[in-house]
Subunit: 278 residues, 2 copies
Amino acid sequence: MTTAIIHLHHGNTMLDHAALTTATPAKPLSPQLPAGAAALHPHTIKVACSNCNLRELCMPLGLSAAELDKIDDVVASRRKIKRGSTLFRNGEKFTSLFAIRTGFFKTCVASEDGRDQVTGFQMAGEIVGLDGIVNDHHTCDAVALEDAEVCVMPFDRIEELSREVNSLQRHVHKIMSREIVRENGVMLLLGSMRAEERLAAFLLNLVQRLHARGFSQSELVLRMTREEIGSYLGLKLETVSRTFSKFVDDGIVEVKQRHVRILNTEALKDIVNPKVCN
Amino acid sequence: MTTAIIHLHHGNTMLDHAALTTATPAKPLSPQLPAGAAALHPHTIKVACSNCNLRELCMPLGLSAAELDKIDDVVASRRKIKRGSTLFRNGEKFTSLFAIRTGFFKTCVASEDGRDQVTGFQMAGEIVGLDGIVNDHHTCDAVALEDAEVCVMPFDRIEELSREVNSLQRHVHKIMSREIVRENGVMLLLGSMRAEERLAAFLLNLVQRLHARGFSQSELVLRMTREEIGSYLGLKLETVSRTFSKFVDDGIVEVKQRHVRILNTEALKDIVNPKVCN
DNA sequence: CGACACCTTGAAGAGGTTCAAGAAATGTGG
DNA sequence: CCACATTTCTTGAACCTCTTCAAGGTGTCG
């Protein structure tokens, strides 16, 4: 019975503590907003990278003090995006890359006839907007799945600076290459995995990225709907729901709406990479 | 009857003329090999971009003479790859990007348990190797589907030069962004399309790219097996074969092994983007 | 508290896969 | 250049996974 879990865990502390919200990590990786800065302007705030705790995620390591000074100029401003609204939209002019400071995004592309496909979920420290470089216009939408804040990095400024700071140039290349490799992995998932494998891979990937940001290795709060997960994984929302229920039945995870606790990471790994027996 | 076509077209001139081999395009876009150069060294030949007819595909436009001189240094050498052998392999150290001069490649990633997924097919003028930048090692295989020749472009040299030549810098960024956007499109295909839609989209994409290289808009020779097409499209080879047969039955294409003639491009487009009828 | 979005589950159905066999093309070695 | 081995492609039939349609439950937010 999959419904039992809802009552079994009703009232206990599962998934209820603060470490479960992406806005408040356990490790000290949260961005530090200069006190009072937010009050200056409702949407854009001028700030620097050098005192940002997410720098190790967005920016190259091992910068000299002089380079750091220059890098501070990459971020032109910050921008807050309300849950449900878009950071950029398919067709809009491309001017900047965005580094996510807080919050959670999805990116999605649409075909002409209106189908759409979630191409990724992005969290703090990750960069969105790379799709816009090639044609000076964005080819996908970036939608905030929770209230978010991003650093706006005008791309011409990035190009200018990366001619001067070698490690920044290398970093930009790596970020783009990383995105290519990530998408290769998604293609493998979409092209060759079955529903259970897809969802297992998805959960492991999410929890791994969250863990790198100081969150639990075993508990997470999904910021997206079943439908969005399904779109990303090439499944219908009902299939996602059923597969969650199957994992619960098998004792691999606990699920309470969007709260997920992984009880058996190894089992998930085995589902993704089925052992050849004998 | 789908088998009829094989006899119907037996002996006719369908797909038989020279314009159908990727090595001999109708338009003058074929690379010009300096006479005798090939004899100097069996595998690597020092040549420049400035006199290459594929330059408009690989390199930025509107370069000054001085910039062109510099760009010539990007290509360290050329390399010939026999059909079936690999240009690079998952795990190998990354040093260079490769511009395809002639021939046809597939790139594929493998999961730990041995499944593999074709992530793309590349033809003359396209760049492979971008996956290697992020971790200094390649994460996929690039396999020649026919005898091929590539220009070897050491990446540190590219980075060096793109600090000096702004248009090259921009070009490198665009190439990577284009790959990201392409993969977004494949994700849409894998995540939301049915078999017929996938194959139709695949054929239209191939023929469009071939046409940009001076080949026919309606005829093409597939350089890959049904299994490789299937892997790319997230289908089994039998499904690819059946879908081809369906298209033949519907009078949309003629198929004779790997020779394909598109009889009704509009029909293919309608399959990819189904019209919503009332 | 009521409206709305989201999630779960069941039952029936479709699309694609698997297994199997045979045909056609391709490559190889004598 | 031909015979044979191998690879590739096609097709059928049974099966299975995932989808579709439908209904009801749960949670959330104004």
